[in-house]
């Protein structure tokens, strides 16, 4: 039923429960009613009272003044937005606010970009009638933090920063202390930003209407020539960024409110970690190794060197002696050309990407159960679900914007966290199943057992949509629960409660991360997560599903584009003759049908002399792949190692040729985020002089090797991709809009929020069984290496830290640390900050100790953001049995207190 109310005597339609302010905004400009405490991504707060309007229940009836932001519209009421009374109230209120606000606009950071200034002008304030009284002008500025600043003399107590901290980020670092006129913003215990628990997401600065809280880049007020909207280069959330550019330089970044992915929010990395792009360390000229030294060269010299070498190796050994690793940090188009270079130009399927070392088990597992490996649902459905299961993921650190949403959820509704660490989410979760690393299969089997035992299956769904259930049920009921309890170390009662909660929830959504995949049984765990969703009917509708939290900005895209050795662009199986023919026809050349090497197999092949050349697009395998010493040994056997990079990484140092590439700020294309959303990346600045976008570099090599390919251009590239990748059929550069489209995109351009709605990609969903096995890493090494080391991420840094370490983030987090339980620390006489020697069967390293109950006794955890620490010297070459994803999460180690300072072997 349509309801009507009158705005200034003109009738308009409104929906039940709508507030007056949003009702008026629907039909008039956004600032038609001035406001101070209202902000686009925050709940109404009602404290500034500037949005006051007059309301009468009938025409010419008695009016009442109400705050429009939190007063619901009443049917048939008459709303007066600019009556004399209202105008006077607004003016007087703003005048009162100004009595405790310094009138130094001309020298203020946000002069001309200040909401208070705008509102004051709008309500017609010319002067302030009050004499100078008691005020807060003497509050000191806080310049302690590398990114955040505050000048609370400018604060107007609108609470927007506090609400942003609470409602958007969920951090609760900011609050109001004191009362009334004496109330003021505090950061933790009135510390400065640097000493507070602030996670530097910048939401408060963006929310603040004045300069009371801001950032060092002055993002609210910076003078710019243009603002360019692009997509963040860090994690797979895919935040949209508004980048301000002046004189060809990036000045600051804000998060657009109209971004569906991040709704005006982003994290420390997205907002502040951009200064790496013009860091003096940037590689600016091609380098060729001559007499053991990397020597500057021209592009042509470099390309000639590469072409010559490749042709030589190809003719001497064959194309399968050449391999490539593409980059999940690069665009879809660049990845597409990289695989094309290998398949169509060099003639081998030896192309893989770092999806291998993170979510390949997800792809494999979900392909086996559902038919496709991508996230089944969309992130914003967090708002439409009743329970969330988070397995092996630490999104508040690794996927901060999604993490913040999950944290908000966990504060209000039930969450199950399966994780060996007491992560931030685990602290908020109703159920934390703190399992021993490497026992996901055991715990998930327990959950499935209890669901079956309690008779909580969705019989209807199982009957209509799935197959293989009887066999599966049989297998599940034969599990020895007591033994699994012992294996996993999780109380079976707790598992039972969690299982019941998951099964009984009207809608339950599952998220998982690398804590599921980077294991011996990664693929099996993913299949069990799929089983959980299927057995409870949590698939194919809003607010449910199995959703991998993809690590890198475009790791989804790299695999979509065919950067994997067993499937071509669009996941098509080229071993099938009809597919093979399709590709041959499309590329116009003969193609190999032999499945190529996966990344771990590549290193083995190198050592065995079966691989002689490698082209790496932006991958630092020495630092990030497991068992670094083995990787180094493998790479050193190569006759040709080409690395496209923006900085001199540990891997680049070993290259024969280095090609200086451009960063995300310097190129255009598309990234596909973890919810299959293809979004436009728009070049913000020109490539740094001497560099080229990876796409152009790859195309240059393609041409040099004799295949005709036009210069890199995302529009034409997408046109080519849309013709071969089925789920890109309707993707057009000019139609992606500001928020992109979620694949599959139909030829008519319509996109897909939820997968497997009517049927599964593979027809019926297939139940898969799994039996827990101990990793050989443990069985073989536990006697001498009794601790289990697992690896994790810190919010502030990104992966190998190549970029983030070259920003002021390093002032906040300068080191990798080893998390160690107080009990273990005591046992080894280790104090906070002591250096600890960590040894595995493969090597040893020194790292600083951080004593915390985040890990249980017997468990250690650390990051590998810093090359100095070389954490991956320790990790093993054991991989997931199905997808060959390395087991980063279970390493048998021993520890002792060390005197050494990073004297790593």
């Amino acid at each position: 039923m349509i309801k009507t109310a009158f705005i200034n005597n003109i009738p308009f339609n409104f929906s039940e429960g709508e507030m007056i302010l949003s009702f008026v905004r629907k039909y008039f400009e956004k600032d038609y009613i001035p406001t101070l405490c209202d902000a686009q991504n925050l709940e109404p707060f009602g404290s500034c009272r500037v949005c006051t309007v007059e309301v009468a229940l009938q025409k010419n009836g008695n009016t009442k003044t109400v705050a429009s932001c939190h007063t619901p519209v009443i049917e048939g009421s008459y709303i007066y937005t600019h009556s004399e009374k209202v105008n006077k109230i607004r003016k007087n209120i703003v005048e009162l606010v100004l009595t405790d606000h310094p009138l130094d606009c001309l020298t203020c950071e946000v002069n001309n970009n200040c909401e208070l200034q705008t509102v004051a002008a709008k309500v017609g304030i010319r002067d302030v009638r009050y004499p100078e009284g008691k005020n807060h002008f003497d509050r000191k500025k806080d310049l302690s933090h590398p990114f955040m600043t505050s000048d609370l003399a400018k604060c107007i107590n609108c609470f927007r920063c506090i609400r942003a901290c609470d409602e958007v980020q969920g951090e609760m670092v900011l609050s109001m202390a004191g009362r009334g006129f004496d109330s003021q913003i505090i950061k933790s215990n009135n510390n400065n930003f640097f000493e507070s628990d602030c996670v530097s997401c910048g939401a408060c600065a963006q929310a603040c209407p004045t300069s009371a809280i801001s950032d060092v880049f002055e993002s609210k007020s910076v003078i710019y020539d243009k603002k360019v909207r692009t997509v963040c280069t860090y994690c797979g959330v895919g935040c949209n960024l508004d980048v301000a550019v002046s004189n060809g330089n990036v000045k600051s970044i804000q998060a657009p409110y109209d971004a569906e992915v991040n709704n005006g929010h982003t994290c420390i990395k997205g907002r502040f970690a951009f200064t790496f792009y013009n860091h003096p360390d940037r590689l600016k000229t091609p380098l060729i190794r001559k007499n053991g030294e990397l020597t500057p060269a021209t592009w042509d010299e470099a390309y000639d060197f590469i072409a010559e070498k490749i042709n030589e190796i190809k003719s001497k050994y064959g194309p399968d002696y050449i391999s490539g690793i593409s980059s999940a940090r690069c665009t879809n188009e660049e990845n597409y050309f990289m695989q094309k270079l290998f398949r169509a130009v060099i003639g081998t399927n030896n192309i893989d990407s770092c999806a291998r070392v993170c979510h390949s088990p997800t792809a494999t597992g979900m392909q086996r159960t559902f038919g496709t490996g991508a996230a089944t649902n969309s992130i914003d459905e967090i708002n439409n679900t009743d329970l969330i299961l988070v397995t092996g993921a630490n999104p508040t650190n690794a996927h901060p914007v999604t993490g913040a949403k999950l944290k908000q959820f966990a504060m209000k509704k039930p969450m199950i966290v399966i994780d060996p660490r007491k992560t931030e989410l685990a602290r908020y979760a109703k159920y934390h199943l703190q399992l021993k690393p490497g026992t996901n299969v055991a715990v998930l089997n327990m959950m499935l057992y209890y669901i079956v035992e309690e008779g909580l299956e969705d019989i209807e769904f199982i009957k209509n949509r799935t197959e293989g259930y009887d066999e599966f049920k049989n297998h599940i009921l034969n599990q020895n629960i007591n033994e699994l309890e012992k294996i996993s170390g999780v109380n079976k009662e707790l598992v039972k409660q969690a299982a019941i909660a998951y099964a009984k929830a009207e809608k339950a959504m599952s998220f998982h991360g690398l804590g599921v995949t980077e294991h011996l049984q990664g693929t099996y765990s993913v299949m069990l997560l799929s089983d959980l969703a299927m057995i409870t009917g949590n698939i194919g509708k809003k607010g449910v599903g199995v959703n991998p939290l993809r690590g890198q900005n475009n790791v989804q895209g790299a695999a979509d584009m065919g950067c994997q050795p067993h499937q071509g662009a669009g996941y098509l199986d080229f071993t099938k003759p009809e597919i093979h023919n399709l590709y041959e026809e499309f590329y116009g050349v003969k193609l190999s049908q032999k499945i190529g090497y996966k990344i771990p197999e590549m290193f083995e092949a190198m050592v065995e002399g079966k691989l002689k050349a490698m082209i790496l697009m932006g991958e630092d395998v020495v630092q990030t792949d497991p068992n670094s010493n083995f990787v180094i040994e493998a790479l050193s056997k190569l006759e040709l190692l080409v690395v496209n990079e923006i900085f001199m990484t540990e891997t680049a140092k070993m290259a024969h040729v280095i090609l200086p590439a451009s960063s995300f700020l310097e190129k255009s294309g598309t990234f596909t985020n973890g919810e299959r959303r293809i979004q436009r990346v728009n070049a913000v600045v020109d490539p740094i002089e001497g560099t080229k976008p990876d796409g152009q570099i790859v195309i240059d090599i393609i041409n040099k090797l004799g295949y005709k390919q036009a210069d890199y251009n995302p529009e034409t590239a997408l046109e080519e991709i849309s013709k071969i990748v089925p789920f890109f059929a309707g993707v057009k550069w000019n139609e992606l809009g500001i928020n992109g489209k979620q694949w599959p995109v139909m030829p008519d351009g319509s996109d897909t929020k939820i997968l497997h709605k009517e049927t599964f990609k593979r027809g019926k969903g297939k139940f898969q069984t799994a039996t827990w096995h101990e990793s050989p890493e443990i069985t073989e090494n536990k006697k001498d290496f009794p601790y289990i080391l697992t690896t994790n991420r810190e919010l502030e840094h990104y992966n190998s830290g190549t970029m983030t370490r070259r920003t002021n983030i390093s002032q906040i987090v300068p080191d990798d640390v080893l998390l160690i339980n107080p009990v273990d620390a005591k046992k080894h006489f280790i104090a906070e900050g002591d250096m600890v020697c960590v040894m595995s069967v493969r090597g040893k390293i020194d790292v600083k100790a951080h004593i915390t109950d985040e890990v249980e006794p017997g468990i250690l955890s650390s990051t590998f953001h810093f090359p100095l620490v070389k954490m991956n010297v320790l990790t093993s070459e054991i991989s997931d049995t199905e997808a060959l994803c390395p087991e980063y999460k279970v390493v048998s180690v021993n520890i002792r207190k060390s005197k050494g300072v990073y004297q790593n072997v």
Binding site: R49, K64, T65, L96, G133, K134, N157, G180, F181, S183
Partner: protein, 447 residues
């Protein structure tokens, strides 16, 4: 002598103990309700009684109860507002101190009527000794089977706890009280949602004043109609009045609503007239928040009618010539009192107590305090009076909670009725300083 309902037994020795209270017929209302009445019937009696909220707003209690949402599987809460903080009001304290079991009995009845199984008494932190009296009485009630599981084998379970505030007038506002009881700052919540739908821990909640809840005992015992037969018109029953200021007999009195203000002020049964043979200058009849009445509007309305102690009569004349019954804090000023000084004093109070959330109140109360102080200390100018009126209009009706109104009304009404006295302060600063009880001269004058 008027009839007494609440204070009927306060004269009995040791009535604060369970034994004596029970011996004198205490808890018979609980027996009656739990054994013979359904919760709905209790609500019905309270509706019939016409009992109005005694905290200040005067909203019909039965109607308030009937608004409580009853979603399945969600607990409901009754909160007793014992945060008595309105200057001039000290009646709840008297009741709880003298006869704590009356409140507890009322709490049991009200909780039963509302379907609450846990109820809380939120008491101001300064009344910590009364909290101890209540906890002792609650323990006695529990020992004797009036609280706990399956009370009187009726199947009804109830626990009552007392929780203190810590010095914040604002927590007497029901949503601020709820926030405070949740262990938070006492910042009032926006409405809607109303507490009856989403209150304590987002559950349906009713907040009632101590006196309101205590009155339920008599209503259940004797029936709502009997209660309604006392009083006048819509002002049914009796009301506790806290009388203070320059009167001969300050204290807490129970009156039948409807007696004349003159009788209350001058008879020996109540205030006993103005102290020291002085003349009446003004009176604030319902706690510091309600408009002040000049002497000629205290016992008579503007129409020359007898002014009565009822919600309606005290409000007769609206804000122009009337006031409000409010919480029943009856503050009397003799001829020597300075209205400017007193108005400033109350403004300072509201400035101190503003939570700081809404800008008109946070900034406005401060400015009223500042400007009034300036006038009081002989530093004002004529524009200041208009500025005060402007600020008070700005605050009134423009805040989330009624503290804004409470801060605005005293200033607006004092200027309305005593403008000349304000002007005199401005025109005759020296004289004004000399006459102000010898207190002003040495006091700091930074304004």
């Amino acid at each position: 002598m008027g009839r007494k309902i609440l204070l009927e037994k306060t004269g009995i020795e040791n009535i604060n103990t369970y034994e004596v209270y029970r011996r004198e017929g205490g808890y018979s209302a609980v027996e009656k309700a739990l054994k013979k009445m359904t919760p709905e019937e209790v609500v019905e009696e309270v509706k019939k009684s016409g009992l109005r909220g005694r905290g200040g707003a005067g909203f019909p209690a039965g109607m308030k109860w009937s608004f409580i949402a009853k979603p399945e599987g969600v607990p409901r809460y009754l909160l007793c507002n014992a945060d008595e903080s309105e200057p001039g009001t000290f009646k709840d304290r008297f009741l709880m101190e003298k006869i704590p079991h009356l409140l507890i009995e009322g709490m049991i009845l009200s909780s039963y009527a509302l379907g609450c199984n846990t109820s809380y008494i939120y008491i101001r932190g300064e009344y910590m000794w009364i909290l101890r009296i209540l906890e002792k009485a609650l323990e006695e009630a529990r020992q004797n089977g009036w609280l706990g599981k399956n009370i009187l084998k009726s199947g009804y379970d109830l626990e009552i706890y007392v929780s203190p505030g810590a010095g914040a007038y604002i927590c007497g506002e029901e949503t601020a009280l709820i926030e405070s009881l949740e262990g938070k700052r006492g910042n009032p919540r926006m409405k809607p949602p109303f507490p009856a739908v989403k209150g304590l821990w987002q559950s349906p909640t009713v907040v009632n004043n101590v006196e309101t809840i205590s009155s339920v005992v008599s209503i259940v015992n004797n029936g709502g109609e009997q209660y309604a037969s006392i009083g006048l018109g819509k002002s049914t029953g009796t009301k506790l009045i806290s009388a203070c200021g320059n009167i001969r007999k300050p204290g807490v009195y129970e009156i039948e609503l409807g007696i004349s203000v003159e009788e209350f002020l001058y008879s020996d049964e109540y205030c006993g007239g103005i102290n020291n043979g002085k003349r009446l200058k003004a009176c604030i009849p319902g706690g510091s928040s309600v408009p002040i009445l000049p002497h000629y509007l205290v016992t008579k309305t503007a129409n020359g009618e007898q002014r009565l102690m009822t919600y309606e009569s005290l409000a007769d004349g609206g804000f122009a010539t009337g006031s409000m019954l409010g919480s029943g804090g009856f503050i009397v000023f003799d001829e020597d009192q300075c209205i400017v000084r007193n108005t400033w004093n109350f403004s300072r109070f509201y400035h101190h107590e503003s939570c700081g959330q809404c800008s008109p109140c946070r900034e406005g109360t401060g400015w009223m305090d500042k400007v009034l102080k300036r006038i009081e200390y002989g530093k004002g100018n004529m524009h200041d009076i208009d500025l005060l009126v402007s600020i008070s209009k700005n605050i009134e009706g423009n805040t989330i909670c009624p503290l804004g109104d409470a801060a605005a009304w005293p200033v607006a009404s004092a200027i309305r009725h005593f403008r000349e006295e304000f002007e005199w302060h401005i025109k005759e600063p020296v004289k004004c300083l000399e006459t102000n009880y010898g207190l002003v001269k040495e006091t700091e004058l930074e304004a």
